[in-house]
């Protein structure tokens, strides 16, 4: 019989193969393939026209693409570093709290519990130039009497987006760093005190090296997150005004679903993914170095 001929290991692995094929491999191959065609959602026959690297070359020479790319890297750099610093500060403060620390740690996670779409709407309202909280507050305090165009001016809109991003995700850093703080052995810290360290020196020379692996893990996770940022931006500014807050994925989304140029969108998507992989590898190498520093061995 046919069934008898299949070796048992293959039979056992087959379900997994089929699922991976259906869920990961086929879409991946299909999208990769389509990035080499002028595939247009409304004209299915374009899927069969091979154009080679045309889409990639087009993306590489598209100023809008590179601006979006640059903005994404900028967002990543500013948001990640701000979140890291704030998260570190928050974690250090929370770790000193002796009473009600559990409640605080839970409260710290609240921002993560909201859908990014809702966070987007919330900040869209907060930064609205007419009815927004920020402008109202500034005007009531007499700090300004004009309505600041938070979401209209390019730089201010970028700032507002970063602000929302930081508000949502600082706690990711705070929580991971807090876990790191709890894992730090106390003895080296005591040794440092006796060795003459001020609190700042103890932090700088003992605590921080211990925290670095945790910081890099948080960075790696968050870099993936921020690099694919879409929802908050889409809601708050829709990439506008006039593309001034366009990020990679809002651009890709618009190209693919609004303009229906799926082949081109997929090509840009693959470039974006390469960038993400680049960041991840970078932070992983950093993580490994930091772990080796601590004598924790390879991962």
């Amino acid at each position: 019989m046919f069934r008898a001929k299949l070796p048992p290991w293959l039979v056992l692995l087959l379900p997994a193969f089929i699922i991976i094929l259906a869920v990961v491999a086929i879409p991946l191959i299909l999208s990769l393939y389509s990035s080499f065609t002028p595939y247009h959602l409304t004209r299915p026959d374009t899927l069969w026209k091979w154009t080679g690297s045309f889409n990639y070359i087009k993306a590489a020479s598209d100023a809008n693409f590179w601006k979006a790319f640059g903005r994404t890297v900028l967002l990543l750099t500013i948001a990640l570093n701000t979140e890291m610093l704030l998260g570190l500060g928050l974690a250090l403060m929370v770790s000193k709290v002796t009473r009600g620390q559990r409640a605080l740690r839970t409260a710290m996670m609240f921002p993560m519990m909201f859908s990014p779409i809702l966070v987007g709407f919330q900040f869209k309202f907060i930064f609205n130039d007419n009815v927004g909280l920020v402008n109202n507050a500034l005007q009531s305090l007499g700090l300004t009497d004009v309505a600041i165009p938070w979401l209209v001016d390019g730089n201010l809109a970028m700032f507002a987006i970063i602000f929302a991003e930081v508000w949502t995700s600082t706690s990711v850093f705070a929580i991971l760093i807090l876990a790191g703080l709890f894992a730090i052995p106390q003895d080296p810290l005591e040794a440092a005190k006796v060795d003459g360290c001020t609190p700042w020196q103890s932090f700088r020379f003992v605590t921080l090296p211990f925290l670095m692996p945790f910081i890099y893990i948080a960075m790696a996770i968050r870099s993936l997150d921020v690099a694919r940022a879409y929802d908050i931006v889409q809601v708050m500014t829709n990439g506008g005004p006039a593309r001034r807050t366009e990020l990679l994925w809002t651009l890709i989304g618009r190209t693919g679903y609004v303009d229906a140029r799926m082949g081109y969108a997929n090509a840009m998507g693959y470039i974006a993914i390469l960038m993400s992989i680049g960041f991840t590898i970078y932070f992983f190498l950093k993580l490994q170095t930091a772990r080796r520093e601590l004598g924790m061995g390879e991962m």
């Binding site: 003895d187 005190k193 006796v194 060795d195 003459g196 360290c197 004598g295 924790m296």
Partner: protein, 361 residues
Amino acid sequence: MAQVQLKNVVKKYGALGVVHGVNLDIAEGEFVVLVGPSGCGKSTTLRMVAGLEDITGGDIVIGDRVVNDLPPRERNLAMVFQNYALYPHMTVRENLGFSLKIAKKSQPEIDRAVDEAANILSLTPLLDRKPGALSGGQRQRVAMGRAIVRQPEVFLFDEPLSNLDAKLRTQMRVEIKKLHQRVGSTVIYVTHDQIEAMTLADRIVIMRDGHIVQVGTPLQVFENPVNTFVATFIGSPPMNLLDGTVQAGQVVLADGTTIPLPPGLHIADGRRVQFGVRADNIMPEGHALPPTAHMAFVDMAVTLTEPLGTETLLYATLAGTEIQAKMLNPRPVSPGETMRFGVALDKCHIFDADTGLNLRG
């Protein structure tokens, strides 16, 4: 070098008292060992001197400064921790030089101090390794080196040898003693190993339950223990204690055996006491030190022998209590054999049965 004084030092965790009014004067350059059973407050006392633990009451003086409220970095002392507490992310060289770097010493100066310490402790080949790649004994030496490099006024050791094997421990004990003789700093050394205490100390401080029980030179506490606790804690094997009652200048044991009181002791009849004798002072006839002027003799059946080479430790039963005796120039002894033992009365102690206090004291 500096003197260290503890004046009525108290430590409480909430309502729980851990150290109850400790008074101790440590002279410049003195090597003082704190001993006591686990949980008696040795580490807590040491950590209060180091400034790692707040003091609840009393004063700690180092040199001529009251240091109660000074952070550790302003106390000019070095501490060797029980579990080394090395900086895992720094090489041995960086570990050793860290305190000097913090003190903003120049690089050549740091290098010189580190090299010298590494030399003393045979760490030179290991200087570029991380602590993770060292054995326990090597880490221990790094911990010690880190303390030496600072040339502090006071060294604090918290059971630094407890993680080492017996041989290394003996070796390091000698190193510590040499170190002290060379640098002459004041040392406070915590251990629960009475052999370490005896061999290292200028003075031993015996603690129990947060109190100091006795302070004295190793010989003083060995020869004149203030109570049964010290008598059984210091010396190995521990002093034998036999319950009895005083009758007409003799101690009558539970089974009616009588042993004369040690010379010079006069105790009222009927008082319940414990008769204390060390294994070194109760030996079988013919295998003993030359008899002294004050000897008593008892017959005992041997239950167990532990040959140690030059001598044998005998376990025997006297008046229902198991006691240990020493046999010099040993010969084979079979269990159950009854032997006649000589007791050197002038080396024996009588303790009050209720308070445990030494009645000679």
